[in-house]
């Protein structure tokens, strides 16, 4: 109880800083997810017709995901320096796998009789892709985006080591000064804020899913 009131006053005292870091955190994640979505969907669209291409794209993006994020930052800092460039690069790379894979799976699972009929009545390749296949694959793609977002919320915390933005700074400041006053409070505040924001974002995705998915394909 004592610790809790202590934590409460810590948060009350750093309210503005926490809020600002939260804003930066969400903003960085969302921007990286947007980039990853564009890139990932382009990759998915480029390869989904070819089993070989699909296998390669999935393998490469999974390989990226197996590199520990800490190590990836370490590899990129010499090349890209500190701050935003390595952070964005790492986040986008990690976000790719779920989006690429779900785009491929989503597009590949569109019933061939639907595309056959769509072509048959005179829709162009592009029309079929944009007005049919991507619409039908969208729920799967959105699930990929959602998974990526959750993942990035955590990974961005590590980016503080590369002087990246966000709540990671709270955590790392805390962890680097273990024992000193407020060290634990800072780490806990950062972590809790990340969890809460992740939940909020997830709720937002549910809403987006509702609004962007036709009633005809909702399950």
């Amino acid at each position: 109880m004592n610790w809790l009131s202590d934590f409460g006053s810590f948060v009350a005292g750093r309210w503005e800083q926490l809020l600002f870091d939260s804003y930066l955190h969400v903003s960085a994640v969302v921007q990286c997810v947007v980039i990853a979505t564009v890139v990932g969907m382009l990759i998915g669209v480029a390869v989904y017709r070819s089993p070989f291409g699909s296998a390669v794209a999935t393998a490469v993006t999974s390989a990226i995901l197996t590199i520990p994020s800490f190590a990836l930052f370490g590899l990129l800092i010499p090349v890209l320096g500190l701050g935003v460039p390595p952070t964005v690069t790492v986040l986008v790379l990690y976000a790719l796998l779920p989006i690429v894979r779900n785009t491929i799976v989503g597009l590949a699972s569109v019933d061939s009789s639907i595309t056959d009929a769509a072509r048959g009545i005179g829709m162009s390749r592009f029309d079929v892709l944009t007005r049919v296949e991507l619409r039908l694959a969208w729920p799967a793609v959105l699930t990929g985006i959602r998974v990526s977002t959750q993942m990035l919320m955590g990974i961005l915390a590590i980016a503080a080591y590369a002087k990246g933005p966000g709540l990671g700074n709270q955590i790392i400041t805390g962890l680097s000064r273990v024992g000193s006053a407020n060290a634990t409070n800072a780490a806990v505040a950062g972590t809790v804020a990340i969890v809460i924001l992740a939940l909020v974002l997830d709720a937002v995705y549910v809403l987006i899913g509702r609004l962007t998915t036709s009633r005809g394909i909702r399950v």
Partner: protein, 420 residues
């Protein structure tokens, strides 16, 4: 229904309205990669404007492949295909397809669009304005028997299989294309719904006169719908290409005969309508008349019957002389009631059915309001079948694709009868 601009239209020569155009296949071959034999081997056939041609043949013989080459969903390996005189290989494939209605067994409605949006797809693609598309969608749903107010805003998953197939047909027809390709469009429904859908297609085709290429496994469906039937063997080889009547009366070879199956004579009766044959007349009397006088008119010949009509001329009862000689009663109670009748649009098969159940040896034919028109007897049915058989035996056409160059002589005549 004639304000579209999709493909040039040729004039038709048949009596019904023809908006369709001729399709020609010349030595069309399709060789899929990695296969030794071509799936379609040098097919040549002419599909006359405004006619329904049905491809029947065993599974895997290349029906779908042949059909899909017409709208270039599959590109031919060699050969030439023209639609309305235009070489399809020279047209933009997307534009070509917008001018050709396409309906398939799996229907392939876009699940994320409503029924109305699905039907309006092709008009949208060819640039109609919203108002016109909305009107057209409504008209098409009506046409296929779906109430627009009820179904327009539903999604495909909220429809039964038969309803989806109706929407598929409505979508195929929406931009009023001169040509319709249908690949087992009624394949996935129960026999009753299938029968209804077939009847509706016949009714629509009566008005539209499109050129329809229809694929099916079901020979009875082919007989019912086709102006001509192309019986295909492996690699889409044309075993026989002729009117249903000609194929039923005189199959080109064993394989075709096998496909026609048992009961060819009965199937022939489905192709002729009561109005195609001359009706016989029986003695008739109105209910109020004197039984004794009627008995004399019926006469003493064995099996002689007469018909009692009500005061508006509708058939009521079968009576024989013996029924009347038994005496006593009035015509209103003598003999047996007429339970079944056919009209002039009924098939001869219906007439046979009525004849067999009536035990008077005749089927009663009525006019539009149910008045007595005449009767059909067993002799005239047998005569019809005999005449058909003789007619097609004389011809003895060679079963190849080249004989289909336009409706000629007896084929053209048979065509009209098939749809009555």
């Amino acid at each position: 229904m004639s304000e579209t601009n999709t493909a040039p239209k040729l004039g038709g020569e048949s009596d019904r309205a023809t908006s369709g155009v001729e399709i020609r296949l010349e030595n069309v071959t399709k060789q899929y990669g990695g296969q030794r034999q071509p799936a379609v081997d040098s097919v040549t056939m002419t599909i006359p404007a405004g006619e329904t041609v049905v491809f029947v043949g065993p599974s895997g013989c290349g029906k779908t492949t042949t059909m899909k080459m017409i709208n270039r969903l599959i590109e031919p390996t060699s050969g030439r295909i023209t639609v309305g005189g235009q070489d399809v290989l020279r047209l933009n494939p997307d534009e070509l397809r917008r001018g050709i209605g396409y309906a398939i067994q799996q229907v392939g409605l876009l699940p994320h669009l409503t029924v109305g949006q699905n039907v309006g797809l092709v008009p949208g693609l060819i640039g109609w304005d919203r108002k016109r598309i909305a009107d057209r969608t409504e008209e098409m749903l009506d046409l296929v028997g779906l109430d627009p107010t009820e179904y327009r805003d539903r999604f495909p998953k909220q429809l039964s299989g038969g309803q989806q197939q109706r929407v598929g047909v409505a979508r195929a027809l929406a931009a009023d294309p001169p040509v319709l390709l249908m690949d087992e469009p009624f394949g996935a429904v129960d026999p009753i719904t299938r029968g209804n859908l077939q009847d509706e297609l016949l009714r629509l085709q009566e008005e539209m006169g499109k050129t329809i290429v229809f694929v099916t496994h079901d020979f009875d469906e082919a007989v019912k719908l086709g102006d001509r039937i192309a019986v295909l063997g492996s690699q889409s080889r044309i075993l026989q290409y002729d009117t249903p009547e000609a194929i039923l009366a005189n199959p080109a070879d064993e394989t075709v005969a096998g496909f026609v199956g048992a009961g060819a004579a009965l199937k022939q009766l489905t192709l002729r309508r009561v109005r195609d044959i001359e009706l016989e007349q029986l003695p008739t009397a109105t209910v109020g008349e004197e039984p004794a006088a009627f008995a004399t008119r019926i006469g003493g010949r064995k099996g002689a019957v007469g018909l009692v009509l009500d005061d508006r001329g509708r058939p009521l009862r079968w009576v024989t002389r013996r029924d009347l000689d038994r005496g006593g009663g009035s015509l209103a109670t003598a003999g047996r009631p007429v339970e079944d009748s056919v009209d002039r649009a009924s098939t001869l098969q219906d007439a046979l059915e009525a004849l067999l159940t009536a035990d008077a040896g005749y089927a009663v034919v009525t006019r539009s309001r149910g008045q007595y028109a005449g009767v059909v007897g067993l002799d005239s049915l047998m005569g019809t079948i005999r005449a058909l058989r003789e007619q097609y035996e004389d011809e003895d056409g060679a079963p190849d694709g080249r004989q289909g160059d336009g409706p000629s002589g007896s084929q053209g005549g048979g065509t009209g009868a098939a749809h009555g």
